[in-house]
């Protein structure tokens, strides 16, 4: 059996986290290949339904990354994202899905290292959890 190679989708806001991911690249920080980034303008633009859709369609983990609280390019979009994420956590629990499969991270434009480390950690954690349809869930 081949090793489990998780599929992760990351929604990154245009102003901070996407730039942080770029910085990880310009700094040549190596991290697991499992992540696929989708750029949005703001973490507040991420519909909660995107996360469930991704899980539904086979993603093993989904991350939303935005500017640190207080740094939002749109003043307060990330605060809204935070509220919605709390709601998603509730849904995950009710669904019986492991809440660790979804993640909300604040990653600034200068935190290339944090971006790479977050992906490393997330990929490792998802590997431990196994495939989302691996039986238990």
């Amino acid at each position: 059996m081949t090793e489990f190679d998780p599929r992760i989708i990351a929604f990154c806001c245009n102003w901070c986290s996407y730039v942080g991911a770029d910085l990880a690249g310009t700094s040549r920080l190596q991290y697991p290949h499992n992540v696929r980034i989708i750029r949005t303008m703001c973490s507040g633009q991420v519909f909660p339904s995107y996360i469930l859709k991704a899980l539904e369609l086979g993603a093993d983990g989904v991350m939303i990354a935005g500017c640190h609280i207080g740094d939002c390019h749109y003043v307060s979009g990330n605060k809204k994202a935070e509220e919605r994420f709390r709601m998603l956590l509730g849904i995950m629990k009710t669904l019986g899905l492991d809440a660790r499969r979804i993640r909300l991270e604040w990653i600034s434009a200068s935190e290339g290292v944090k971006f790479a480390n977050t992906i490393k950690e997330f990929a490792r954690e998802i590997k431990e959890l196994g495939p989302r349809n691996g039986g238990k869930e």
Binding site: H33, M41, S49, G58, S76, R84, N133
Partner: protein, 573 residues
């Protein structure tokens, strides 16, 4: 429209080509449904790369373009203009990042990196198929400005806007222009008389044909948005209605009257402004000693902020007293002398003159004991470890600047926020000091925070600069990527209006008329002139009535789907 997609994969020298099998990627992409053209370039961003994009759009009749190279953050504008140059709407373009987010971060696993590049481009293809052309709308601007507040900041802003060739309405609630400057005796740092400075300002404003002055006038109502505001004001002659393109808030501040503090009210205890008033009117009696008390009512629980200018004001006034009465003992009791920047020089001059500076302890503020016309001050001197007492002829309280009583009213009228300290809150404290988050409204002077004359002048010019940009252009270019409301879906809950940081979403009265019934309700309207496209409203709209253009639900879902879920089994009900 059936998508005809062209994909251009960049080697970026070896930056991508060295870690991703680019020819393999191109072969893969060619086979994707919708893709009619795929090629690779050593540098897509170089002249020849851009030329081949333009040529392919024409020769292959492309209606969507993807470049797979580096980050859109730096390169999207370049490719977009190439696409536009070939006659295609620039928003029918997508940049897929396979360098920063692929080749550079998976340098030791070429196979996985190649697979990831394919995945990312496939996701891009799915998304670009659904993209729609976007038009950058222009909103015409009424070429005039309205400045609220005729103090130094407001007059400066009005003059500068007028000198750039625009009509300005200057509204002042008092019967004369000048604001705080009217109450000052001299100005620091050079101690010159305030009145000629004031006179010169008023003369310049009055002689400027572009400025219409409205004294004794108050703003009553404001409506509209950038480029198209209507302001209703009132004065003794009657109501005014002014149409204007931009607004500048320069409403100033006033001196805090420290009632109940430091013996204020007794004959020997004055505020700085009261002292300046006596000096100007020549009513100050001879003194043998004076004590200034700094931070009288500031940096305390009621007013946490530092009022910035009071140390400099006290130093200036102490020097005046010392020059008038050279033998007098003049001491400034302070909790840190904040003569910032080059005002340090003035602090040194006061020392040279013999003005005393004694530091009191923050925990044990000075105490004033009033006995009829006499007053004593005692304070704890930390360094000496003991109390020191003075019996001065005069006690001057350096009290902070505080917002006027009517700021809340103005804040509500303009829908611009106030900060915790009651001063107006700018769009961004670092990089947008004189802008409000709402486009077309600007801020300067002590309405923003305590500032001195020079700083108010700088800010007046700054607000003038920001305000004149739309006036000079004659239009505002709204963000192409904005959110739009589908009124048939909108349930009028008002969520969007409550979360929008730019006041772009508002609720309008509407009548829904159907065949069986009709009723009055509210519907959301998002003003494209104000929307910045963050999409926060859309993501929270319970009815799904709001679409964030260019990042629509179907577009994003298409990307998510195209991520090829071969493990897809579970359907969540």
């Amino acid at each position: 429209m059936i998508p005809r997609i062209g994909v251009f994969v960049c080697h970026c020298g070896t930056n991508i080509g060295g870690y991703v099998d680019v020819p393999d990627v191109v072969e893969y992409v060619k086979a994707l449904p919708g893709v009619v053209h795929a090629e690779r370039n050593i540098y897509t961003c170089a002249d020849d790369g851009l030329t081949s994009i333009k040529n392919a759009i024409k020769s292959r009749d492309l209606n969507r373009v993807i470049v797979a190279s580096c980050t859109p953050r730096t390169h999207a504008p370049l490719f977009r203009s190439a696409v536009a140059a070939a006659g295609l709407n620039p928003y029918l373009f997508e940049l897929v990042n396979i360098r920063e987010q692929c080749s550079w971060v998976h340098m030791k696993e070429k196979e996985a990196a190649t697979q990831k590049a394919k995945d990312l481009i496939r996701m891009g293809v799915a998304r670009v198929s659904l993209l729609e052309p976007q038009e950058e709308i222009r909103i015409n601007v009424t070429p005039s400005a309205l400045v609220i507040g005729g103090g130094v900041a407001g007059m400066t802003a009005a003059l500068s806007i007028a000198n750039q060739g625009f009509r300005v309405d200057l509204i002042e609630k008092e019967s004369e222009l000048g604001g705080m400057l009217r109450h000052l005796y001299t100005l620091y740092p050079d101690g010159r008389d305030a009145s000629p400075v004031l006179a010169k300002f008023i003369e310049n404003v009055k002689n400027n044909r572009n400025i219409e002055i409205h004294t004794s006038s108050r703003v009553k109502k404001v409506d509209g948005y950038i480029g198209n505001f209507t302001v209703w004001a009132e004065n003794e002659k009657g109501p005014l209605e002014i149409r204007t393109g931009v607004l500048v808030v320069a409403t100033g501040a006033e001196e805090f009257k420290p009632l109940g503090l430091y013996g204020y009210g007794a004959g020997a205890v004055l505020t700085e402004l009261e002292l300046e008033d006596r000096l100007r009117s020549g009513l100050l009696h001879t003194i043998k000693s004076a004590v200034f008390i700094q931070c009288a009512g500031a940096r305390c629980s009621d007013r946490a902020y530092c009022s910035r200018i009071c140390c400099n004001v006290a130093i200036k006034n102490a020097m005046i007293l010392k020059q008038m009465f050279p033998e007098a003992d003049i001491n400034i009791l302070h909790n840190g002398i904040r003569a910032y920047g080059t005002y340090e020089k003035m602090y040194r001059q006061a020392q040279e003159l013999g003005v005393g500076f004694r530091k009191y302890s923050k925990e044990i503020p000075p105490e004033v004991m009033v006995n009829g016309e006499r007053a004593r001050v005692k304070f704890y001197h930390e360094l000496m470890g003991k109390e020191i007492e003075y019996s001065p002829d005069l006690i001057v309280l350096s009290s902070p600047l505080v917002p006027h009583g009517d700021v809340e009213e103005i804040s509500k009228m303009l829908k611009v926020p106030l900060g915790q300290d009651g001063f107006f809150l700018e769009a961004h404290v670092k990089l947008r000091p004189v802008d409000f988050a709402t486009d077309g409204i600007f801020l300067c002077g002590t309405a923003r925070a305590p500032a001195d004359i020079t700083e108010s002048i700088c800010q007046g010019y700054a607000a003038a600069s920001r305000a004149s940009i739309p006036l000079m252009k004659g239009y505002v270019q709204a963000e192409a990527i904005t959110a739009v409301v589908d009124e048939t879906k909108c349930i009028g809950c008002g969520y969007c209006a409550s979360v929008c940081p730019y006041n772009a979403a508002s609720m309008n009265e509407k009548t829904v008329a159907a065949e069986e019934f009709s009723y009055a309700t509210k519907k959301s309207y998002i003003n494209p002139a104000l929307c910045k496209g963050c999409g926060t409203c859309a993501a929270g709209c319970p009815a799904g009535a709001i679409t964030p253009n260019h990042f629509t639900l179907p577009q994003i879902i298409a990307s998510i789907k195209a991520f090829q879920p071969e493990r897809y089994t579970l359907a969540i009900a």
